[in-house]
């Protein structure tokens, strides 16, 4: 019970900071909006083409928005010494990492999911594709967070911020991208049923939710040496 209360404290602290500083929810969504808006300008007024590649653009935008906000997840705690106390504390580090990851997802991943149908309209997506994109993002963005925390922990451990994190993490998100986009395409007519890539996407999320916290916690422990 007290463990839960302590974890809830971690969750609410991170959420509060994200909301107050404005580095979380709003910036993520604005970045998402910017990426999605830029694409039609680059491609030109070809509505059919936009409709075809729309889900991919939404997924790429969400991927980048989610990763860019992850960079400071542990770096802030490292810079002000909070991480020392967390490492010394009685709570298992893995659970603290899960609490921080959930907090990050609620403040940045979830707003992206909610914004995606609106942005999908910009890309001339049909209603079925709008729903399918939102659904795949709902399932897939937690995996982005759980994979991203490994990179966030690494950037603290290696004392290198900035671009190192996306460079390390983006390749690991390729499977998510493949199955997320193919599930969306399957929903609007394709050779495979929607459920086939979608269940694989769900599986990827579950696997990353297990591996991510352990890998991030191990990285943090070794990095503090």
């Amino acid at each position: 019970m007290s463990t839960l209360s302590a974890l809830a404290a971690v969750f609410t602290r991170d959420a509060r900071i994200a909301v107050r500083i404005g580095g979380g929810a709003m910036i993520g969504v604005l970045f998402f909006l910017t990426v999605v808006t830029l694409v039609p300008f680059a491609i030109g007024p070809d509505l059919a083409l936009l409709r075809r590649i729309g889900p991919a653009i939404l997924w790429l935008g969400a991927l980048l928005a989610s990763l860019l906000t992850l960079d400071r997840l542990f770096a802030g705690d490292h810079d002000d010494g909070s991480l020392d106390l967390v490492l010394m504390g009685r709570l298992p580090l893995e659970l603290v990492v899960v609490a921080k990851a959930l907090s990050h997802w609620v403040t940045t991943g979830l707003p992206l999911v909610i914004a995606s149908p609106v942005l999908g309209l910009f890309l001339n997506l049909e209603p079925a594709a709008l729903g399918a994109t939102a659904l795949t993002l709902l399932v897939g963005t937690p995996a982005l967070t759980f994979i991203g925390i490994i990179g966030a922990a690494l950037s603290v451990a290696l004392r290198r911020g900035g671009l190192l994190m996306p460079v390390m993490v983006l390749p690991m998100t390729i499977p998510l991208l493949i199955f997320g986009v193919s599930a969306t395409n399957a929903a609007v007519g394709g050779t495979v049923p929607f459920a086939t890539p979608f269940t694989i996407l769900c599986a990827l999320t579950l696997v990353s939710a297990v591996i991510g916290p352990f890998a991030a916690a191990a990285t943090l422990r070794h990095g503090m040496e």
């Binding site: 007290s2 509060r16 107050r20 802030g76 810079d79 002000d80 106390l85 504390g89």
Partner: protein, 211 residues
């Protein structure tokens, strides 16, 4: 209750900071770590806290809780104050009380408020911590140590940035802690004025790589 370090050695960045350090800290007799800059005072404190692993030797807290590590029974007051500028003074403190105090009851809020008054920050409870001065940040860190009981206090230059009144307050807190049978290990350049303090002088800076 006794904290014992046996034959401790520490290597940082390929450089041997110290080796063969032995000490025993009994309840009520604080241990002061002194020595030149770079002698390894902070490293020894971090080593006791379990934040870095000793190259050789071991630290043990005899008479403590066997199910907990030394670090889990310790308050560590390092150079940094673990505060978030976007949260208020009270929110910062309440977080650490909830996080550190695994056995916390429903009185955690009262306890946090009480310890804020103890360090003289009661009136600033609703101010964002980002607006605090260095000394006030330090006092907020001290409030954390008052609010959550821990056997061992590791203090790294505890008087840094504190004004005369706050230094007196810190002195009182340390005496109370020692009186309750607590242990203190403090790295310091000046005398802390604690009764019965023993001193451990760490060696001179040694250049060159480890053999």
């Amino acid at each position: 209750m006794e904290l014992r370090g046996t034959d401790l050695g520490c290597v940082r960045g390929g450089r041997r900071v110290f080796d063969g350090v032995n000490f025993t800290v009994a309840a009520g007799t604080p241990l002061l770590l002194t020595g030149a800059n770079g002698a390894g005072k902070s490293s020894l404190l971090r080593l006791i806290a379990g934040l870095i692993h000793p190259d050789q030797g071991a630290v043990a807290l005899e008479g403590g809780d066997h199910e907990l590590t030394v670090g889990e029974q310790t308050h560590y007051l390092g150079h940094l104050d673990p505060l978030k500028g976007a949260l208020t003074v009270m929110e910062n403190l309440a977080f650490w009380v909830r996080f550190l105090n695994a056995e916390a009851g429903p009185d955690e809020r009262d306890r946090a408020e009480g310890s804020l008054d103890t360090v003289g920050l009661g009136e600033l409870a609703d101010v964002p911590a980002g607006y605090l001065s260095a000394g006030q940040r330090r006092r907020l860190s001290l409030a954390r140590m008052v609010a959550v009981p821990r056997t061992l206090w590791l203090l790294d230059e505890p008087t840094t940035a504190l004004d005369a009144a706050s230094q007196e307050r810190l002195d009182g807190l340390m005496r109370t802690h020692l009186g309750d049978g607590g242990l203190i290990v403090a790295a310091t350049h000046g005398p802390l004025g604690l009764p019965g303090a023993q001193e451990l002088r760490l060696g001179q800076l040694r250049l060159g790589n480890t053999p």
